[in-house]
């Protein structure tokens, strides 16, 4: 990338240093641009599904793992945090707010199956709609409702629901979640993704008729053992910043995780271009 190292001359010390750091910054931003485009590409791939023929599970798993890797890296170096913070300023309308969450469903009922996945969702649904039915993620009707914000396609995309009622629920979620969509990009996405939300949501049909029986408690421990708590911290931080009084999912989150202290408020820069770009991504994921 550089033909040779830039020498620091004593007389031009200040300029040379800033050149170096500028080059470094350029490299870094080029890397994050590449990373961003890779993320976009991966999300589009996840969205596309074959209408008649089942999608290739191996390919889907590999792409989803790639998205997860990018997400994790972006979270660790703070760019994900910055991007999501952009939406949490008071001026944003609820429908455009964006939250990255990892929801831990420690349901106290014994028969409920815990769900663990990383979702990217539009917050802004009414409380009752955000609380997703367990059946949206599995086909077992008997499971109790867990408090999950469901828009993350990556998370719940493996299961293909077979209940028509479930599909209606999902569509309702989709409609309420996306608000007015005044952004042109969003409209384009609406037009582009002509498949019904249920199809996009069910990208990776697994065609299991019977849901696996909930495992014993030791299985629960295993499920929780590899929880990435950095996501959770992010979530509670963002939770604390919500100014709207009626925050259904976040109230639930708070009740689920009393151990986490309330986060500090972080100031949010106004990144309009990032906002549009992120809207674009979110539209892909949510599949409006």
């Amino acid at each position: 990338m550089f033909s040779k190292g830039t020498k620091r001359k004593f007389s031009d010390g200040g300029e040379e240093i800033s050149d170096e750091s500028l080059l470094g910054a350029r490299v870094a931003s080029s890397y994050s641009l590449q990373r961003q485009s890779l993320l976009d590409m991966s999300l589009i791939k996840l969205q596309l599904c074959h209408m008649l023929v089942e999608p290739n599970l191996c390919r889907s798993v590999l792409i989803a793992n790639t998205v997860r890797q990018i997400q994790e890296e972006m979270t660790h170096d703070g760019s994900w945090h910055m991007v999501t913070e952009a939406f949490c300023s008071a001026g944003q309308s609820p429908s455009e707010r964006l939250v990255a969450t990892e929801v831990l469903c420690r349901s106290r009922e014994q028969d409920a199956e815990p769900k663990l996945f990383s979702v990217i969702s539009y917050e802004g649904c009414r409380e009752e709609e955000v609380v997703a039915d367990e059946t949206l993620c599995s086909v077992s009707v008997s499971d109790t409702v867990s408090n999950v914000c469901l828009a993350g396609r990556m998370g719940q995309c493996w299961e293909k629901s077979e209940l028509s009622g479930v599909e209606r629920d999902e569509e309702a979620l989709e409609d309420s979640r996306l608000g007015s969509g005044e952004d042109e990009e969003i409209d384009t996405e609406d037009g582009a993704s002509t498949e019904s939300p249920k199809t996009i949501g069910q990208v990776f049909g697994t065609f299991e008729i019977k849901n696996g029986s909930p495992g014993p408690d030791s299985a629960l421990e295993e499920l929780f053992s590899d929880v990435d708590t950095s996501y959770y911290d992010l979530d509670t931080m963002l939770t604390g910043m919500q100014s709207a009084p009626k925050m259904g999912p976040y109230d639930l989150l708070d009740s689920l995780a009393p151990s986490h202290s309330s986060p500090s408020i972080v100031s949010t820069p106004n990144c309009r271009s990032d906002l549009n770009e992120l809207d674009h991504i979110m539209e892909i994921i949510v599949g409006s």
Binding site: E54, V61, Q156, T206, G212, A219, L223
Partner: protein
């Protein structure tokens, strides 16, 4: 001469069969060959295609009159193995594409093979009929019943020769055992059982029993959202009927012993090469995903194919392969484009030669590669109509990775990524290879023969 024999398959290959023989102006998608497999003697070669058809080629017998004809393969039998199905419950089509064909060892005059699409495995019997009975009492030659009062004497029907007819009939249908797509089938060395593997499960079947199968591996997580790894290939050990291996999308291989437990979720051996941290990228996992695993004929080694390389493992050493061969390392800098056009998900197969001294695998631009394990030499050949005139020897090809391109070299950017060789097979005893290039089947043999 040892030296000549050792380098034989690296220098002198000629095309003995190109099928279909006439070049088609348009290639129908259903003609794309999806699997190629020699039988245990090498006399028969089966191909399966995307349209659910199986075509079997038979080797010409050696004859004194036509010395040069030995080695030619001609069509022996063609039949429709699988039809497209529609799963009404899930509103999905089940493709008729044949994913794998495996031959059973021959035990009588008939030949048996297993063919599998995404969901169903079928056992086919291929038998010859070259005689027919004549001189029936109750019916005449046209098959019409004779008037009873005309029958005055009894005669014994006589077998008369007729034109050879090859019949394929389905003897068993093993269905409804796989929720996910079948990627592998493998006949056990006990010749009584076989395994079938899909993305998340492996089942063990008895060849005689179609309404039951044993699930021996299940990696489906209780919560599908946690799914991060799938099974990509599985194979039975060639001699130990209790052992089998399966590979994963994370580049690992597990060897399991069926004596240890009914459910082989816990492996006996776990093969994984530690990752080189300096070459880590977002594509590392994808290119480490193993697309094929094959035991050596000896049973001591196994070979795995990932996106850029072929690795030979000693079953006694789990922490790294004993040999690694780069198939097309020049693609490493193009991974992003290959991810974009989905080529990075192509599943290449690999195969051993009969003596386990050489391995072969396919690449892009209709190239395929052979590696000599003893001399460490390798060769790149191309399966194309222009280069496959009868008796014409294949010329080695070379990909130019940078700098000045020499004559006859092809640059990386000129490679045709639509022309991929995913399926190759090597005759179990001789230097005869079958290479499937989209809808064309090439059979090459070494020129000494």
């Amino acid at each position: 001469n040892c030296a000549i024999m050792a380098s034989l398959y690296l220098s002198g290959w000629v095309c003995v069969r190109l099928s279909p023989s006439a070049s088609h102006t348009g290639c129908s998608a259903s003609d794309i060959i999806s699997t190629v497999e020699f039988n245990c003697s090498g006399e028969l070669l089966a191909t399966g295609d995307k349209g659910g058809r199986v075509v079997i080629f038979q080797r010409e017998q050696e004859s004194k009159n036509r010395l040069l004809s030995r080695g030619e393969y001609n069509v022996y039998s063609t039949f429709q193995s699988h039809e497209p199905e529609f799963d009404y419950l899930k509103s999905l089509e089940i493709e008729e594409k044949i994913n794998k064909i495996r031959w059973l060892p021959q035990q009588n005059a008939a030949h048996f093979l297993l063919s599998a699409n995404d969901k169903t495995i079928k056992l086919w019997k291929i038998s010859e009929r070259d005689k027919r009975a004549e001189g029936y009492n109750l019916k005449d030659e046209d098959g019409r019943l004779r008037d009873q009062f005309r029958i005055t004497t009894l005669r014994v029907p006589v077998l008369m020769p007729m034109d050879l007819m090859v019949e394929a009939s389905p003897r068993r249908i093993f269905a409804n055992a796989h929720t996910y797509h079948i990627n592998s089938i493998s006949v056990n060395s006990d010749y009584e059982t076989y395994l079938s593997a899909d993305d998340l499960r492996i089942n063990l079947w008895h060849l005689e029993i179609t309404d039951r199968s044993f699930n021996i591996v299940d990696i489906k997580p209780a919560n599908m959202e946690e799914l991060t790894e799938v099974i990509t290939a599985a194979e039975c050990h060639p001699h130990q009927c209790n052992a089998f291996v399966y590979s994963s999308s994370k580049g690992t291989i597990r060897l399991c012993d069926m004596r240890a437990a009914a459910l082989c979720d816990r492996h006996s051996k776990f093969f994984e090469e530690p990752e080189d941290p300096s070459s880590r990228s977002f594509f590392s996992e994808i290119i480490s995903s193993i697309s094929d695993v094959k035991f050596s004929h000896s049973g001591r080694y196994m070979m795995t194919r990932d996106y850029l390389s072929v690795k030979v493992w000693d079953l006694n050493m789990e922490n790294r392969p004993v040999e690694t061969y780069q198939v097309h390392e020049y693609l490493r800098s193009k991974l992003c484009s290959l991810y974009e056009n989905d080529c990075i998900f192509d599943k290449f197969e690999c195969c051993w030669n009969g003596s386990d001294s050489a391995i072969m695998t396919g690449s892009y631009n209709n190239f395929f590669r052979m590696f000599d394990r003893n001399t460490r030499r390798d060769i790149t050949l191309e399966a194309s109509r222009e280069n496959s005139k009868p008796r014409a020897m294949l010329k080695p090809r070379k990909v130019c990775t940078g700098g000045k391109r020499k004559k006859d070299e092809i640059s990386v950017d000129s490679l045709d990524f639509n022309k991929k060789i995913l399926h190759t097979a090597w005759h179990p005893k001789e230097n005869v290879i079958a290479v499937a290039a989209t809808n064309n089947l090439y059979i090459f043999q070494d020129k000494i023969n």
